[in-house]
Amino acid sequence: MLLELKNVEVVYSGVVQVLRSVNIDVPKGSVVAILGANGAGKSTTLKAISSLLEIEHGEVSDGEILYQGKDIANTDPADIVRQGIVQVLEGRKVLEHLTVEQNLRLGAHFRKDRDVVAEDVERVFNYFPALRALLKRTAGYLSGGEMQMLLVGRALLAKPKILLLDEPTMGLAPLIVEEIVSCLKQIHAQEDMSMIIVEQNANAALSVADYAYVLENGRIVMHGPKEELQKNQDIQEFYLGLSIGQDRKSFREIKHYKRRKRWLG
């Protein structure tokens, strides 16, 4: 097992418990998706892994995060990046005033093998040909899709063993979503890398992932291989969209009351 979360609990400001006893396994080379409603604790899970909780006054209060067998909970975030866990944060935070090239190179700033970096940059361009033309452009003026590509590219330059992606398709046009998803598939196929994808767009996430967890109120309520989850009726209705499953329903026909969820393992 490359990464294992064991009974991880996360508490913000010492009072607000966000994660309760979360267990997630990421085998080497696999892509794991985390689904869940807003506020369920998906982003928190990623931040717990990459040790970014401290900025928001949070901490892993209990449990272990084992990376290659070693507990990395609450360690220095820079150290975690060095060990190969790289997160692409949600909200597309590029360094606006730097050029695309400068942004990309920042991803490799701690690497010692400078000579290989140029090669890696070239590989990033192979995945995202659009970036090559934008090399000298100021990052702040890129479109949402281009920024997302830049950020994934930047993360790749850090030579991750695990790539954590937080809502990579949020707010992107359908065509761009497709492009990003196919790039992620390609990257997974060609690089020796695991991924954890947190997504609201469950269709997109499940098309890349091979295993998924469903979080609700900070707890895992369901997990399984993607084929199994795709068959589940709750997942279909609450995540995959109304049109999937049987006869198509329209958003126009949504009732003023809710069907109860039946989370079952």
């Binding site: 064991k6 009974n7 609990e9 418990q17 309760r20 006893s21 267990n23 209990d62 449990g63 967890y213 707890r219 895992i220 309520v221 369901m222 997990h223 589940n232 009726q233 009732k255 003023h256 009351y257 069907r259 109860r260 039946r262 989370w263 079952l264 393992g265």
Partner: protein
């Protein structure tokens, strides 16, 4: 003792021959500007005075007239507890019609049975959800003519000719009002005390629900019994929370509401009830044992997260409350005062029970532990014993609180006259006479005849023991006392109740009848408490199924069972158990809507597990079909651990 006789009540607010609508009219003319109903709306508590309420009732009544409802017809109601629901029911009664109320989470098929059986001509449906359910039946149930909804949200797209808003119904009634201005009072005047007011469908644990016909007198008499026994004062607040489909709410809310009269309050939404309860701090309230249990276990779960020092203080205060609440002597009183000041007053305040002078637990089955827990924190919880057909029979009202008993026979309204008499038959069954009489089952003369013996006593079907002090102890349903293959008789209910009182256990289903020679049990764990327990102990789990099969959780359950086993003779003890990998759910018909166990269904669905309980394997593969509300199904598979108790054979 095999027979005791009750007493007459002394409260002057007697029924004196008036039916519910007549009382209503009288109260409205005596206290027109006092608050009768009250609801939380837009963040404020909005009062409805007696005159406002009566006005609303009269408009609804004329509306019903306009829809063609005649005295003696039946009108159904499916709604959460809201002002409109109460007004609608009073309007039905004022029209001289019968009301059949349903649980709001009833499925379409349950609803169909009730609408068909009661031959309801109109159904009041709270909102879009209920209208949708009723609409699927409007062509199937021939008697059903109209669906009237209260909440118009999402209804603007509906144009079914038989669906109308309550405002539209009122509008249609206006013509009748101008044409027959006296009609409302005339009909109210003609509604007799002995007339049937409601058809209360008892959530049958077997078969289809039966409709019990309850008269005005029957409801009011039971209301009077509570009022007299618990000194319910004019103007006391009552939080209407349990469904109108339950006879107890008909007695406490509808009948006692006008008899006392009380201020009947309604929460803003079902999910804000705890908060609204806290705001109101009502004097009078009635919960089911399960609701009390949930309240206690919720508090317990909260205290799990408290600072260790606070927890110790809390536990000290609880212990002090248990030990010294009624003790005399200065040091006891001082300690009690300390515990009260430091902890217990806060607990009561948080629950909104600081003013509750008659918090009642209706129905059997509240465990001794929960009962003493509430007494320890200073909440004078009382057991209340009764049934839809027998009315309210006994309660703790004479100043003694023995958690194991159901209390003493209640005082009957003096204008009804006949005293309650409780007899225990040779088979151990409680037979009742006196007070207002049950009017039989709707459309079911056989069942009606069966419910009385030759002497005219009502057969409760409960196995009851009467103590020397005149307290009644509920043993079990007579038909539920069970015999094992080896001839041993044991009380399954007793086991279940005591097991359920553990915070870790939500439901326990006892197995063991003439086919088996040992007792075993299926456990439905309490996910919240077990989850916290697992978290505290660093145990990993994802789903409910995984949690339920954690060895440590099973060990914890085994400990609880061992404790309960201690209280029984060896052959009655639980010999083996397993934890169910899914929660019991009314949607799967495993529970009734009032969360009673449906044994046949459970036995059927978990047959594999039950077989394993009496076999030799340590685990079994279980497949369960689950049903979604829209009728879809899927199959869940899991491995269930079978645990055997070591002390079972000593």
């Amino acid at each position: 003792m095999t027979q005791i006789t009750g007493v007459l009540g002394t409260d002057p607010r007697t029924i004196a021959g008036r039916s519910i609508p007549q009382l209503l009219l009288e109260r409205a003319s005596s206290f027109p500007d006092d608050t009768f109903l009250q609801k939380k709306h837009f963040g404020l508590w909005k009062p409805f005075t007696w005159s406002q309420t009566l006005n609303m009732i009269s408009r609804y009544t004329y509306g019903l007239t306009a829809l063609g409802v005649e005295p003696g017809d039946c009108v159904a109601l499916i709604s959460e507890n809201i002002v409109e629901g109460f007004v609608a029911e009073y309007a039905i009664l004022c029209r001289g019609a019968l009301c059949a109320a349903m649980y709001p989470d009833m499925s379409v098929s349950e609803m169909e049975h009730i609408l068909r059986d009661s031959a309801a001509r109109v159904v009041f449906a709270e909102d879009q959800e209920q209208v949708d359910k009723a609409l699927t039946l409007i062509d199937k149930v021939e008697t059903l003519e109209w669906i009237v909804y209260f909440d118009d949200r999402g209804m603007w797209g509906y144009d079914h000719p038989q669906v109308l808003s309550v405002e539209e119904m009122e509008r249609r009634g206006e013509g009748f009002h101008t044409k027959f201005p006296e009609q409302f009072e005339q009909v109210v005047g003609s509604v007799g005390l002995r007339d049937v007011a409601i058809i209360s469908y008892t959530s049958g644990t077997t078969g289809l629900p039966k409709g019990a016909r309850l008269s005005h007198e029957f409801l009011l008499d039971s209301g009077y019994r509570l009022m007299d026994a618990f000194n319910v004062k004019h103007g006391h607040e009552y939080l209407s929370y349990i469904s109108q489909a339950w006879a107890a709410e008909q007695i406490c809310g509808i009948a006692l509401g006008v008899l006392a009269p009380m201020v009947v309050s309604f929460a803003e939404k079902p999910e804000t009830v705890p908060n609204d309860l806290r705001e109101l701090a009502p004097e009078f309230l009635l919960f089911t044992p399960r609701q009390w249990e949930m309240m206690a276990s919720g508090l317990q779960a909260n205290m799990f997260d408290a600072h260790p020092l606070v927890r110790r203080l809390y536990e000290w205060a609880l212990a002090t409350g248990k030990k010294h609440r009624d003790a005399r002597g200065l040091s006891s009183k001082l300690r009690m005062a300390m515990a009260d000041l430091l902890v217990l007053a806060g607990v009561r305040d948080n629950l909104g029970l600081k003013r509750a002078n008659a918090p009642l637990s209706a129905g059997s089955g509240l465990s001794e532990e929960i009962f003493t827990y509430f007494h320890a924190i200073g909440i004078p919880l009382r057991n209340l014993y009764g049934a839809t057909e027998s009315g309210l029979v006994a309660a703790h009202w004479k100043g003694t609180f023995n958690a194991r008993t159901m209390g003493q026979l209640l005082p009957v309204d003096p204008t009804i006259g006949t005293l309650l008499v409780a007899d225990v038959s040779d088979t151990g069954e409680l037979l009742l006479s006196g007070g207002a009489r049950f009017s039989g089952y709707h459309n079911n003369p056989d069942a009606s005849a069966e419910s009385f013996n030759e002497a005219g006593q009502f057969r409760t079907g409960d196995a009851i023991r009467i103590t020397e002090d005149g307290d009644m102890i509920f043993l079990d349903r007579v038909k539920d006392l069970r015999t094992l293959a080896n001839g041993h008789v044991y009380p399954p209910q007793f086991l279940e109740n005591n097991l359920r009182s553990s915070p870790f256990i939500k439901d326990a289903v006892i197995i063991g009848d003439e086919n088996y020679d040992r007792v075993s049990v299926l456990i439905n764990i309490d996910a919240e408490i077990c989850g916290r327990f697992a978290e505290r102990n660093g145990l990993g789990f994802g789903t409910f199924a995984e949690l339920s099969q954690l060895p440590e959780v099973i060990e914890q359950i085994a400990k609880t069972i061992a404790e309960v086993n201690q209280m029984l003779d060896a052959p009655s003890r639980v010999a083996s158990f397993c934890c169910l990998p899914k929660e019991l759910d009314p949607d799967d018909a495993e529970l009734t809507r009032s969360r009673k166990l449906r044994r046949n269904v459970i036995f059927d669905r978990y047959a594999t597990a039950i077989e394993a309980l009496y076999g030799d394997d340590d685990e079994c593969d279980l497949e369960v079909v689950i049903k979604y509300q829209d009728g879809r199904e899927s199959v869940v598979r899991s491995v269930v651990t079978i645990k055997r108790m070591e002390n079972a054979d000593d």
